[in-house]
């Protein structure tokens, strides 16, 4: 039985076993976590404009926040939300939080608990109100534009919203000085079309990297004032806050895996081209 034809390196590369590829990726993630490289993180203008807006608002301004994602995007949007919420608590802004995706509320509740540890005097119903989840998607956005109390008679913890101190001068979307929304899908479009455009509230988008490109047309049309895109955006925000956290520590691994995939795609296409050329030459020679 004659031995199989000696595989050239390009052919070997193209038929690389799946298990090798997976272990390469796992290593590219794990190694930088153990021995961090500390590549500098450059701030992009899109993230800077969201940070500047929250930083330059006078203390105690009203900020509307919506966390429309579920655990599937938790690794990306949770660090981003925590960093922005830390910024809001540091600047003592008033914040009202809603959730449009059914599986999301406990992520926000957990984030609030963690921020309360850092800022003990950050009071529920005075500095923040967690309105929680309400069924309806776009209808909730329209409802929040009319009035918080009608759409959320009770907040996430079950207390009545109408008697809360924060509701006195922040009772609907129109009274917000700024809005920040965390999006994993196109519910961000609904917020712009049915919420912020109607009540002309400036809004910034904290989005997963999957949907970030879809929000750039809104940025150019000035319907959005900034975009925090993916875990990289979260890392930039953490650097701006001078409070490096989960996102910054992940950046080295992110770089390594991207480098690995970049090389893989380029080489694979190159070798595929070479192999195709070789086949065509041998085929022409046999004819």
């Amino acid at each position: 039985m004659e031995s199989p034809p000696k595989l050239t390196f390009p052919e070997l590369f193209l038929q690389l076993d799946r298990r090798i590829i997976y272990s390469l990726v796992a290593l590219a993630v794990a190694i930088p976590l153990i021995w961090p490289i500390g590549l500098p993180i450059r701030i992009t203008p899109e993230v800077q404009s969201v940070f500047d807006k929250i930083e330059n608002l006078p203390e105690g301004s009203n900020i509307m926040m919506s966390a429309d994602f579920d655990p599937a995007s938790q690794p990306e949007l949770y660090p981003m939300m925590k960093s922005v919420l830390r910024h809001i608590a540091r600047k003592k802004h008033k914040v009202a939080i809603t959730v449009l995706w059914p599986n999301g509320p406990n992520l926000v509740a957990q984030c609030i608990e963690e921020i309360k540890l850092e800022f003990p005097d950050w009071k529920n119903t005075e500095d923040y109100v967690f309105l929680g989840y309400q069924v309806g998607g776009t209808i909730v956005i329209i409802g929040v534009g009319n009035s918080f109390v009608d759409t959320f008679p009770k907040d996430f913890y079950g207390s009545t919203t109408s008697t809360m101190p924060i509701i006195k001068d922040f009772s609907r979307l129109g009274q917000a000085d700024y809005m920040i929304m965390f999006e994993a899908g196109n519910s961000g479009d609904w917020w712009i079309v049915y919420g912020t455009e109607v009540h002309n509230v400036e809004v910034g988008g904290g989005v997963t990297a999957v949907v970030a490109p879809q929000y750039y047309p809104y940025l150019q049309a000035k319907q959005l004032n900034g975009i925090i895109g993916g875990l990289k955006g979260a890392a930039e925000y953490e650097m701006l806050m001078e409070h490096p956290d989960m996102a910054v520590s992940a950046m080295d691994s992110q770089s390594m895996v991207h480098a690995l995939l970049f090389v893989a795609i380029v080489l694979a296409n190159l070798f595929a081209f070479i192999v195709a050329m070789q086949k065509r030459n041998t085929a022409r020679r046999e004819k």
């Binding site: 455009e197 999957v210 949907v211 879809q214």
Partner: protein, 448 residues
Amino acid sequence: MKNNLSQAAIFLLLLFTLSLAGFAQEPVEPSAPGDGSEIEALQGADIVIGLEPAVSEPPAVNVPLPESATLDDLANDNGTGVVLQFPASPGETAELTYTVLIGESAGGPWTPVAEFTADTTWKEDEGHFFPAFYWFEKGRDGKTIHAVPIRNLGENVPLETGKQYFVKLQSALGGTTAEYPEVLSATPRENWFDTSKTNMLILAVLFGATVLYFIARARRDPNLFIRKINGLDAVDEAIGRATEMGKPILYLNGMSTLADLSTLAALNILGRVARRVANYESTLVVPCRDPIVLTVAQEIVKAGYADAGRPDAYNEDNIFFLTEDQFSYAAAVCGIMMRDKPAANFFMGYYYAESLILAETGANTGAIQIAGTDAATQIAFFVTTCDYTLIGEELYAASAYLSREPLVLGSLKGQDMAKLFMMIVIVIGTLLVTFGMHFIKDLFKALG
């Protein structure tokens, strides 16, 4: 084909000029019906002599004052606002600050409600309250008229509808203040038509009528022209090469339900594929994720085989329900691909994150792959792993091209006409704006 397009173009240009003419008839700020106060206001200033004499010591320095000022009901609001308008005073500079005071009686207690420097609060910036001015008279000779909407009495106590309010205007320059001699008055009224949304209304009626018109036409004449979608040639070619090898063909209708437009489009294309495959030996495998889509797919394939004159070749077990869970469905389909090694894979309809698992496994089995989806986030993965990809609306066009179903066909043609209108306006608007004329562009500003 020729007349169909030209007809539509004339139809649109006619409507376009009509809407322009419609606009032009509003030389003067349109007053809402049943709201008299504005018209009188325009004939002459609403002069009410203040009871206590407006005695102010002779100004040490000459403080500019506007020559005229008017106070009217605020347009396009729910009756809780009045608006003070006055042309820029001669010789006003940025240092000059105006203060507006409001009172509930002619001599009544005055509460300051607005304070601004002379280089701000222009009529141009209040597009919502002065749409006609914004669209037709704006920017002719720079910013000349101040406009101050007044909607509350100091600390956000809204004005009451139907109650008369009085306003005084003061200007101050370097410590000395001067007061506009007259005390103006007006009554806020509820407006019944928001003139700032006129452009939206015209466009909505225009687009809506176009869509309805073409749906009606599509009902009468189903072969309205649609260009050949070269994606369909790719589908036929793929079927041809697959049936030569006698290997099975895999067809997916997407992960969504019948409520999704792209699932309906996928089922239309399935009908064509079934008709082509019927008179060859290769089997057509259709694993489904939604029970309702399954029953519809079975009917379509059976009808396809019957049309091709091969009802006997139809085998219902090839169109089956796998599972509803997203990732298990993807894994099961990959199992079929690796086991039966289909020669052609079709990924039509709406897909989520699992699209890559399907397309990658399929690419490795060396099958010809054709995809068609409007899921923007997944198109990139199909383009890089499949031989041909129908993108977004092309999928709907392919289904309209095949099924000639009036609803889909008419909507597509209606949207095409709207696109034609948009393309014309973008080209003309950009040219005009580049050479300084903002007229066309401003017509499409959402002032609402």
